[in-house]
Amino acid sequence: MTINRKENNGAYIYEIEGRIDTLTAPELEADIKGVADKAESLLLDFAKVEYISSAGLRVLLFAHKAMSKKGGLKLVNVGEDIMEIFEVTGFSDILSIE
């Protein structure tokens, strides 16, 4: 997994590439934790995410909660296979996905 992070006036954009699994999810979580306090909003671009496991879902839930009192967490460019994972777990109802 590689993370490409951009910031503009407190709006953080993450372009994530590869697999968000048990091994890589902690890195993403640590990165988001590092900016959650100062971030006004968080946008995750999933265009290049190939795979997500429950370890990755935990990070999304954490990010969603951390941003819920601010500009919120938004996911964009979610592929079909990942979308199906969000649907079977009920995450598609919780997360803001465009």
Partner: protein
């Protein structure tokens, strides 16, 4: 049937996934089924790594077989504490994020994406088999 015996530790997940993917690719598995199987394998293997032998470390035996009807059978064996993941109650996925506990979600995802899941405790071993049409 191909198999590997490997230390049940989360840092071995990469090796496990590589082994599984190699078998599935050799069988011309669809991308979607492969992703779902990878997901299921991760959830099961990480469970074994975290709980089967805790606080000690033990081994896991993982095998892959594809039958004539193109069903993949992925079997995990460990000699840890008896644990039937199928006996666990499903999480309530209708709850809001605030009320949500993420525990139990992994096994739930496996149940939802695999065609079948079989568990037995045999000869002092947990034997869990995932079945998925590829």
């Amino acid at each position: 049937m191909e198999k590997i015996e490997i230390t049940a530790a989360t840092d071995k997940l990469g090796e496990v996934t590589e082994f599984i993917d190699a078998q599935l690719e050799a069988a011309d598995c669809s991308m979607k089924a492969q992703m779902q199987i990878d997901l299921a394998v991760e959830e099961i293997f990480v469970n074994i790594a975290n709980y089967a032998y805790a606080p000690n470390v033990g081994m896991a035996l993982i095998s892959v077989d594809v039958d004539e009807q193109r069903r993949a059978f992925i079997t995990f064996e460990d000699s840890g504490v008896p644990y039937d993941p199928l006996a666990k109650e499903d999480p309530d996925i209708t709850l809001s994020a605030k009320e949500r506990q993420v525990g139990g979600l992994g096994i739930f995802m496996v149940k939802k994406t695999m065609d079948d899941m079989l568990y037995e405790y045999r000869d002092g071993k947990n034997v869990l088999t995932l079945v998925k049409k590829i």
